[in-house]
């Protein structure tokens, strides 16, 4: 086994480089945080800050969706259920409990998240009995059941929907509170996503993605695990759902339960990189901003769909696994190539150790 140990130079070298890398990561994160915090102060144009708010909402949604679908590999196309449920929970509660607009409604968003999480339990129990394509179809079906229910149930206000109380914010700074609440939710969601990614729970989810049956055979309680991830991923979507419809000022069925929402967050995650932490954030930031910009500029709802299509095709062709993994891989390949040629020069004199595994 000595032959194996002598070749661990790259591993042994890693800790030495780690503090520098960590400092760099921290610095970049601080700069990004500063940009996000300062943005609505620097740019006060309401049209632009509303774009920023929408981008944050979708960054939360895509990131939360990724916690379940990205990590476990189960493609859920029904998260609009939780977006709409969160929205309706806030709207109905604000209406029935006579909650004043502004900060009290923001507090109600927590309730929206809670309701979304509770709804996710039975939805997950049903949908997660299936796998792969069937799972995708079942989530879509459940989504339409919710849309139908929103049209027909009494307390949802039917087709005309519900108006939310107007926040007492001045017109000039109207967007700012919404923006910062969304930013807080985003930070918390990314924190959860990061915690899960490095946890044992996250590792087991990733194992399910790669080979669910083998994971089961290694003692992973797959069913419980998938349901937990499903519920965790529903809660932030419900939270921003409440916030989103509070911002818009009203909620009605085809808007709350919008199939395009599901496609959008899935596309965003795919574009950025499924299963990574940064990927869905990047995808949502780019795509949602682009969509809102195009809608505002051309005042047409369809233009962004064409842009979506073109962009998606380009990514599938050039970076099929998404931007983040694609670029990371490219960088690693370059680094590995450099390391390999260096190693070749070093090892040229030393015969390779007789490790059987290496011989194959």
């Amino acid at each position: 086994m000595t032959g194996a140990v002598t070749q661990t130079g790259d591993v042994a070298g890693a800790p030495a480089a780690a503090p520098r890398k960590r400092a760099l990561t921290l610095g970049v994160m601080l700069i990004i945080a500063a940009v996000f915090i300062a943005f609505p102060v620097v740019v006060t144009d309401p049209a632009t800050t509303s774009i920023a708010f929408f981008a944050l909402v979708f960054m939360v949604a895509a990131s939360a969706w990724n916690i379940f679908s990205g990590y476990s590999g189960y493609l859920a196309l029904g998260h609009a259920v939780f977006f709409g449920t969160g929205g309706y929970a806030v709207a109905v509660a604000a209406r029935d409990w006579h909650v004043a607009g502004g900060w009290p409604v923001f507090a109600l968003c927590l309730f929206g998240g809670l309701v979304a999480g509770l709804v996710a339990i039975p939805v997950g129990l049903v949908a997660l009995r299936t796998r792969r394509h069937t799972f995708v179809v079942v989530t879509i079906a459940i989504f339409f059941i919710f849309q139908l229910a929103a049209y027909n149930l009494g307390f949802t206000g039917g087709t005309s929907g519900i108006l939310l109380p107007l926040p007492p914010f001045s017109a000039a700074n109207f967007n700012q509170p919404f923006y910062y609440v969304a930013l807080v939710i985003l930070v918390l969601t990314v924190l959860v996503s990061w915690l899960i990614r490095r946890s044992r729970f996250g590792l087991q989810l990733l194992a399910i993605r790669d080979d669910e049956d083998r994971a089961l055979g290694l003692g992973v309680k797959t069913r419980r695990l998938k349901l937990t991830a499903f519920v965790i991923s529903a809660i932030p979507v419900g939270l921003v759902g409440g916030l989103y419809f509070d911002f818009v000022g009203q909620i009605y069925p085809q808007f709350a339960f919008d199939p395009l929402f599901d496609l959008s967050i899935a596309l965003m995650a795919f574009l950025g990189g499924l299963g990574t932490i940064v990927g869905p954030l990047l995808g949502a930031l780019v795509l949602e901003s682009l969509q809102q910009y195009l809608t505002q500029t051309f005042s047409s709802d369809a233009t962004y769909l064409i842009a979506y299509g073109v962009l998606f095709l380009a990514v599938i062709l050039v970076l099929p696994r998404g931007v983040v993994p694609g670029v990371t891989e490219w960088l690693e390949r370059r680094r590995a190539k450099a390391a390999l040629s260096a190693a070749h020069e070093r090892d040229a004199a030393v015969p390779t150790g007789g490790v059987a595994g290496a011989a194959q």
Binding site: R200, L203, L218, G357, Q360
Partner: protein, 529 residues
């Protein structure tokens, strides 16, 4: 000695094919038990049943006194039964170290599981120690997808050890790995056994099994045939019968026995490769010929420098132990696998390098090893699929009629789903489908696999019938006795090399054929190659 695993009267069938029938198995605590048996004898199915991947309707499985019949895989693993898979299964997008951490067992609430790190410092240290034990420590931070085939086998084994199971079920640990690594693996398994682990290993590499195991259980046709020490098993005639295939009627068996005594002492004339044949069809023109063909998947060659002739109008049977390269040989001829070296000629024309479709159009049809029908399509549709490439409708109709006359089942059960047929019936439908193309050469891969003796006899009868109607047959057969008896010409393949050729009977009676199947290579005749 107490029994760690006890399997009692387990039966399992897939559609019409019986994989296990009233199978019993005992694994004693602290032993290395080898589970051997011909292809399709139910070894992997038995593993699947014990580890909860397959449910059974009949029989019981006990582990350490607890009944675990039909327990789910995660529970079975937590109780202390770890297994590897025949085709190694890893979490390919995780790193090697992450793969190791998946199986760590902790008793904790789900919330703590969500919050805590994937591996504590202690768990990581333990994982690294185990990687060290199998010798792949330096790959700890590589994605598992980057590992070589042998390294994957090592990782799969190590990843089980994290949970410290009481028994390891290893499904073909030495399959497809190089000799150095085989020795390394055997040493690791012995180390584990010394440290108290019980081991049950399925393996086709007889040398590996015989050297490693303290006790061997032979499965045949879905039930345990014999259990004993390697020497007992090696010398037990029933075991050789199981591998070579039992005779179907007693008179031929008697006849064979008499002939064997008659030949006793005299050198059986088996010609080494590439010398003139004495078989009755040796003079007939060659339909298919291979010259120095090498082919393989990934790293090494599976068949090496194979040269053989398939005479027109005859039945040529290729036999050899599992992993000899028989199926690879077929895949190479049919164009699914491109030969790396050498030349294949069919009817005098070079066909190596053509696409499978072009080769099919030249008149070489293959019936693959089991389950090649579309189970959800009807019998009629399945047969029709055979003529997929024939555009002339009248010709298709005419052939369908011929096929229906030959195999009444195609007409009688035309509208039933192919999946509902028994194993033997499915074979007939496969034959029918193949004949829809009216090929000149039919390649059959293990037509008797998983069939009971009567059905097997019927299937072989059908093969003979096809041959009598002018089809040249190239047969790969596990049941060497039945296959060779049927054939005008026999070819023995071992480790990808042609060891013997000759008339079917000569090959069958060659004294070293037993050694070939139950460990040890043929030495005398191999000199020719």
């Amino acid at each position: 000695m107490s029994n760690l695993i006890e399997v009692k009267g387990v039966s399992k069938a897939y559609g019409g094919v019986k994989a296990l029938s009233l199978c019993d198995l005992e694994v004693h605590e602290g032993e290395i038990n080898g589970l051997i048996g011909p292809n399709g004898s139910g070894k992997t199915t038995l593993f699947n049943v014990v580890t909860g991947y397959e449910r059974i309707q009949q029989g019981e499985v006990h582990f350490n006194g607890t009944e675990i019949t039909n327990a789910p895989p995660d529970r079975v693993f937590r109780l202390g039964i770890g297994r590897t898979f025949q085709l190694t299964r890893l979490f390919t997008r995780l790193t090697v170290l992450e793969n190791m951490l998946v199986a760590t067992q902790r008793d904790e609430g789900w919330l703590r599981g969500v919050m805590r790190l994937a591996g504590s410092a202690g768990e990581r240290r333990r994982a690294m120690e185990l990687l060290d034990f199998v010798g792949i420590t330096r790959l700890a931070h590589e994605p598992a997808a980057n590992l070589s085939y042998g390294q994957r086998k090592l990782l799969e084994l190590a990843s089980l050890l994290v949970a410290d199971p009481a028994i390891l079920l290893l499904d073909e640990p030495a399959g497809g790995v190089n000799p150095t690594l085989i020795t390394h693996l055997a040493d690791r398994i012995k180390d584990l056994n010394r440290s108290g682990k019980t081991i049950l290993v399925v393996e086709h590499n007889m040398e590996f099994v015989m050297n490693l195991c303290s006790r061997i259980t032979v499965l045949s046709q879905g039930s345990a045939l014999v259990s004993g020490t390697p020497d007992e098993v090696r010398t037990n005639p029933a075991v050789l019968d199981a591998y070579l295939g039992g005779e179907d009627d007693e008179s031929t068996q008697l006849e064979l026995a008499q002939e064997a005594t008659h030949h006793d002492g005299t050198r059986v004339s088996v010609s080494p490769v590439r010398t003139p044949e004495r078989s009755k069809l040796g003079d007939s023109p060659t339909l298919l010929s291979l010259r120095g063909v090498s082919a393989g998947y990934g790293g090494g060659d599976i068949i090496k420098q194979v040269s053989l002739d398939v005479p027109r109008g005859g039945i040529t049977c290729v036999v050899g132990p599992n992993g000899a390269g028989k199926s690879t040989l077929m895949a190479t001829i049919s164009g699914l696998l491109r030969p790396r070296q050498g030349e294949i000629r069919f009817n005098g024309e070079v066909v190596s390098g053509l696409t499978p479709k072009q080769i099919l159009a030249r008149g070489i049809a293959q019936i693959p090893q089991a389950h090649s029908l579309f189970p959800d399509m009807t019998v009629h549709e399945n047969v029709e699929m055979g003529a997929f490439t024939v555009s002339e409708k009248a010709l298709v109709r005419q052939r369908m009629q011929t096929v229906q006359e030959l195999y009444p089942i195609v007409r009688d059960r035309a509208d039933e789903k192919a999946g509902s047929l028994s194993g033997g019936q499915q074979r007939l439908v496969e034959f029918a489908r193949c004949l829809m193309l009216d090929p000149e050469l039919i390649m059959l891969d293990e037509p008797s696999m998983g069939l009971d003796p009567q059905t097997r006899k019927m299937v072989f009868g059908m093969v003979e019938q096809m041959n009598q109607q002018g089809k040249t047959i190239l047969l790969v057969e596990q049941n060497a006795r039945a296959g060779l008896k049927l054939s005008s010409r026999g070819v023995v393949l071992e480790n990808g090399i042609v060891r013997l050729t000759g008339s079917g009977r000569d090959v069958l009676e060659h004294p070293e054929i037993g050694a070939l199947y139950l460990g040890g290579a043929v030495t005398s005749a191999a000199d020719g190659t």
